[in-house]
């Protein structure tokens, strides 16, 4: 072997060693906190409950879930309300993002931007609590209506799907505004002007130019809002009460109340698959790349 290849091998070895050392913490993180835990949850969901003392794999946890009408109902409701929340967030956030990116003067835009971000520095728990105060039977809205003698009895605003929707839209709308804003920010204004010059009315400019252009942002936002809504525990418990159970509450109950971890794993794994499926669908429809979607946030 010539000296040159020896040096090259030595350099190669040094490079690989450094790379290995740099990668080690990250590898440990991904293996110990992401891959192995989620894989063991997956495996557990196919095992019998320990009290049966049976070995081998079974589909009974999934069978139990999919034949239980109540569980199916909770699952579908969570899915439906989460999609509604995502859609409402889009309706609320799109005009705001558009206004900040394209209509407001830079100075004004900066001020609005700060006002929009401030509430999101505050913990999710406190933001949820604020809606309990506002929507409760003796809450701010009901007191107000009764003071004005518009109502003699309080309207039930809390502990239903309405309060969960209002609260979750409130909690996660920044995740919709930010990506839409950043795609619109990058859009050349002359695109809209050209369309207008060519005779398009405002509605058509929005429909044919602005919305298609900001589609990647809309999709990233939708993925985040859907995922956060479907996977949160706190707002649905506090704002949904005991009548409207969220799927994550069902998972929590299986783990800590019924102490049936195997069934809990099956439910959790189904939720994971559902989220992945939703993300996959959205990405396919919009023709995006997963890592770009995440980096957009």
């Amino acid at each position: 072997m010539s000296t040159l290849t020896l040096i090259r091998n030595k350099d190669q070895f040094k490079r690989n060693l450094t790379l290995f050392i740099l990668l080690l913490p990250g590898l440990l993180w991904i293996l110990m906190l992401i891959v192995i835990p989620q894989f063991s949850m997956f495996i557990d969901s196919f095992k019998f409950r320990p009290i049966y003392h049976k070995k081998g794999f079974t589909l009974e946890n999934y069978a139990y879930f999919f034949t239980n009408l109540l569980y199916i109902k909770i699952f579908l409701k969570t899915l439906g309300v989460a999609i509604l929340i995502t859609f409402v967030s889009f309706l609320v956030c799109f005009p705001i993002a558009f206004y900040i990116a394209k209509v407001a003067k830079p100075d004004m835009a900066r001020k609005i931007f700060i006002l929009v971000i401030i509430p999101f520095w505050v913990s999710e728990l406190i933001r949820t609590f604020s809606w309990m105060i506002i929507l409760g039977d003796h809450g701010v809205i009901n007191r107000f209506l009764m003071m004005l003698h518009l109502r003699t009895e309080p309207i039930t605003l809390l502990y239903n799907n309405f309060s969960v929707t209002v609260g979750l839209v409130y909690n996660y709308l920044l995740f919709m505004i930010l990506p839409i804003y950043s795609t619109l920010e990058g859009m050349d204004n002359s695109l809209m002007e050209a369309a207008q010059d060519l005779g398009a009315n405002r509605f058509n400019v929005m429909r044919r130019i602005v919305i298609p252009y900001s589609l990647p942002g809309i999709m990233s936002g939708s993925i985040m809002v859907f995922m956060l809504s479907v996977g949160t525990y706190i707002a649905p418990t506090l704002l949904g009460g005991t009548k409207e159970i969220w799927f994550t509450e069902l998972i929590y109950n299986k783990f800590f109340k019924a102490m049936n971890w195997r069934l809990g794993s099956a439910l959790a794994f189904t939720l994971l698959i559902l989220t992945l499926l939703f993300i996959f669908l959205v990405i396919k429809i919009a023709g995006l790349k997963l890592t770009d979607v995440i980096e957009e946030e």
């Binding site: 992401i34 705001i96 006002l115 520095w121 604020s130 701010v140 409130y170 996977g231 939720l271 989220t275």
Partner: protein, 262 residues
């Protein structure tokens, strides 16, 4: 762009309603912390600091704040260190399976927090690791590292490698060049990754709930107070937290901007 008068009015009204929706609830929470009525609702009956006095007497609450700070410091240290080394590996090297590695590294951002909590609970149980604050640190790190990674990678990608080479040409070793040139360059990103990590950890509920066992972090403590019923005491602690986080947010975005300029 040309905008009609009608549209201008529409946007203004929409914006004002939106800002009321956004900021109103928090302002009401803060206002009611000074109300004499023991039920947190309008109208204001009188001004009092009683609820704040009660806060300072609450031992459990103080303990949970301390727990949250300990956890947040642990998570911040882990997240920033793992994110920094991983950023170097991902930005400076090309290796087999890199794309897969990167996708997995970002996946926790789009995984529901409840699932991270449950799966880590199952795994820790298998290796006989008891739920508690240490488990919470691990659970929160699982996704906070991803956020720190994005922050640090974004800046490392913009780094001009020739600066490091210049230092080496001038006689510095590779490691010294990185410590003296690259790390100072990364400082703003490291500072914002650290403050983001601290904030995300301090606020976390969904993942923490599954791993905390009998110990309590502040969000868990507030949650259990809420289950007993609404009390202006919760408004008081919320007000303090809102003021602190908003101040911290302003502070970190200020320093972030200043550092960004050079």
């Amino acid at each position: 762009m040309q905008i009609s008068k009608f549209e201008k009015i529409f946007y203004r009204v929409f914006l004002v309603l939106f800002l009321i929706y956004l900021l109103g609830p928090l302002l009401i929470v803060m206002l009611l912390s000074f109300n004499t009525s023991p039920a947190p609702t309008l109208p204001m009956k009188g001004f009092t600091l009683e609820w704040y006095r009660q806060l300072f007497m609450d031992k459990q609450l103080k303990e949970s704040i301390l727990n949250s700070i300990i956890v947040a410091i642990g998570v911040t240290i882990i997240s920033v260190s793992v994110a920094t080394t991983t950023s170097f590996a991902l930005v400076r090297y090309r290796f087999k399976g890199q794309n897969g590695f990167y996708a997995l590294a970002l996946s926790p951002i789009i995984t529901p927090g409840v699932i991270l909590g449950v799966s880590i609970l199952i795994f820790l149980y298998k290796i006989h690791f008891k739920p508690g604050l240490k488990a919470v640190v691990l659970g929160q790190s699982s996704f906070i590292i991803s956020f720190a990674l994005l922050t640090i990678m974004a800046r490392l990608r913009k780094f001009d490698l020739s600066l490091e080479e210049a230092a080496q040409d001038l006689g510095a070793s590779k490691i010294k060049a990185i410590l003296k040139i690259t790390i100072p360059y990364l400082k703003p990103a490291i500072v914002s990754a650290a403050s983001l990590s601290f904030l995300l950890s301090f606020d976390n509920f969904n993942t923490t709930l599954f791993l905390v066992g009998n110990e309590r972090t502040l969000p868990i403590q507030i949650y259990s107070m809420l289950r007993f019923g609404l009390s202006p005491k919760i408004n008081a602690i919320s007000t303090i937290l809102v003021v602190l986080t908003v101040l911290a947010g302003f502070f970190s975005s200020r320093t972030g901007k200043k550092e960004e300029t050079y």
